[in-house]
Amino acid sequence: MDVIVCVKHVPDAETRLRASSSGKWIDTDGVKFTVNNTYDEAAAEEALRLKEKCGARSVRVITVGPARAEEALRYVLSMGADEATHIEVPADALLDPLTVARLLAGVIKTLPHDIVMVGKQAADDEAGVVGSALGALLGLPSYAFVTQLDPDAASKTLKMHRYVEGGEEHFHGPFPAVVSLLKGAADPRTPTLPNILKARKKPLTKVPLADAEAKARALSPTAAAGSVRSFLLPPPKTGAKMIEFQTPEEAAEKLVRLLREEAKVL
């Protein structure tokens, strides 16, 4: 079995957001990027567990990103992935998630893949689009909001749990497939020093953008995609209106009045 995991190199969660000069994305100057975003790290961990559980042949990590995104690939290699693929795009490229999915699908189509793992959503654009779109482009079933998965290699079936509003569904479906993970079964492992050193020597293939684009066109002739018109930051919060009170009852009465008459949320 071959497992592929897709990860995105994203700004650290604590990043202070400033608009770029184009007004279409954040200013990335001085921003720390990482793959330690909950969903992708969980997807990587689950991909490695799949390998351990059912002796997958290889786990390949793949990303679409600028040169700096190689760091994300090395990180997942140091977690234990075997090989990596880097679809390199210009540093200032603003890619619609459908475009990302097409580039990934074009390349993945040429690689052995039984299960393609992605995170529920990327920590920056939070689209949650790439997984289902990949499924459609590869002509494979896709399963999203998955919280648990167990493959049965003999019947080529995945037994899964998935989040639904108000609970969870236990279900199964065939693979090859794309799985978008909401939450992994275990905390993502932390790379050890020896593994970090080993990861430096693991194979990492660069795919030039033009190549990936040609492969994407072969799969999907239309290239419809949205484009960012503007990136907007909320006006700075002025801070809370603080309620002055002597007794809890007075606090409660003042608060209820404000919620009803000023905020109109009751």
Binding site: A13, E14, I26, T38, D96, P97, L98, A101, E126, A127, G128, V129, S132, A133, G135, A136, P141, S142, Y143, F145, V164, E165, G166, G167, E168, E169, H170, F171, H172, G173, P174, A177, K183, A224, G226, S227, V228, R229, S230, L232, L233, P234, K237, A240, K241, M242, I243, F245, P248, E249, A251, A252, E253, L255, V256, L258, L259, A263, V265, L266
Partner: protein
């Protein structure tokens, strides 16, 4: 210009999600803004008669009902195949709306690829676009910023629950038609739901709840969450929690709000004894109104709050519950 809209609803498990009705209402508003067009509702699933009545009350022009045992279990592949055929019933230009529930968010990207459309997930505002298509606003970075996205061709949008109002409308002209199932991909037919585990029956689902009362470590112990539960009851609210109290085993993981929990944007979020760590804020800061109750006036939660109460949650909460219950004429729990 006119615009025809297909609204895909979510009635997984047999109950029509309120956010489906918000999507139908927004479709009607968009059609009005565009100066005409049809609102077509697609109902996919099995045993849909209650859902048909539910959507009819919101005044669509046409309801296409794909009611089949093969659609009982949700499969993005199967639903997308049916929705793509439904789209053929609309005139150009057209767009697709769905609620941004788990179902809607999984279905639309697939459909967008299969019909050559564009996509904006989890949107909070929609406007017509000069030159055709739509412009959608959607929160990113956990609600810390917003992206305006241009969707020139066949926009497919999932709508964040609570972001759009639902307005019932009687429409005697609504037509309801059964929709014949097209051939489904074999892999789609092989998806089987074995069982559904309901996490909690009596409070609203967090991601859809219009009001959420949430508690953190400042509540001092699991036994004090009864104060949160009582206030939630009077408000008809969902219950949320910080990761600290979920990790401590005081509350179930399904209640966790934040980076590793749920992203919510209710009209009112009441944070009690929650410090306001960034990982919590990214899950709730796009709420319309935020009340913070914390005994430390320097707690970061006050930076994002609309109203702040510096005090002991253990005494403020019961007072709030009593005041609200009395004002609503409810028994004090």
């Amino acid at each position: 210009m006119t615009l025809d809209l297909l609204v895909l609803t979510d009635q997984r498990g047999g109950s029509l999600k309120v956010s489906s009705l918000e999507a139908i209402s927004e479709a009607r508003r968009l059609v009005a803004k565009e100066g005409g067009g049809k609102v077509v509702v697609g109902l996919l699933g099995h045993d849909l008669s209650a859902a048909v009545e539910g959507v009819r009350a919101f005044g669509p022009d046409l309801v296409l009902v794909a009611d089949d045992a093969k659609l009982r279990a949700f499969s993005a592949q199967a639903y997308s195949a049916v929705a793509a055929r439904m789209l053929e019933r609309l005139s150009e230009p057209k767009a697709v709306l769905a609620p941004a529930t788990a179902l809607g968010r999984e279905l639309l990207p697939r459909l967008a690829v299969e019909v050559g459309g564009t996509i904006a997930p989890d949107v909070t505002e929609i406007a017509p676009r000069e030159g055709g298509g739509l412009v959608a606003m959607r929160p990113i970075f956990g609600g810390r910023a917003t992206l305006a996205v241009d969707l020139p061709t066949l926009p497919c949008l999932s709508l964040r629950p609570n972001a759009f109002s639902s307005e019932p409308k009687s429409n005697p002209a609504t037509v309801v038609e059964p929709f014949a199932l097209p051939a489904l991909p074999p892999t789609a037919e092989a998806v089987v739901v074995e069982k559904t585990v309901v996490s909690r029956g009596d409070t609203p689902e967090l991601t859809e709840a219009p009001i959420i009362v949430s508690g953190g470590r400042g509540l001092k112990g699991p036994e004090n969450f009864v104060l949160i539960e009582k206030l939630a009851k009077v408000l008809g609210a969902g219950i949320g929690a910080s990761r600290a109290v979920v990790d401590a085993g005081w509350r179930p993981a399904s209640e966790q709000v934040g980076q590793t929990g749920k992203t919510v944007s209710p009209n009112l979020y009441v944070a009690c004894g929650i410090s306001g760590a960034i990982q919590h804020l990214v899950g709730m800061s796009s709420s319309r109104c935020i009340v913070a109750i914390n005994k430390d006036s320097a707690a970061p939660i006050f930076k994002v709050a609309t109203y702040g109460v510096v005090g002991d949650a253990l005494t403020i909460l019961p007072a709030l519950t009593t005041t609200l219950a009395k004002s609503k004429g409810l028994p004090v729990p």
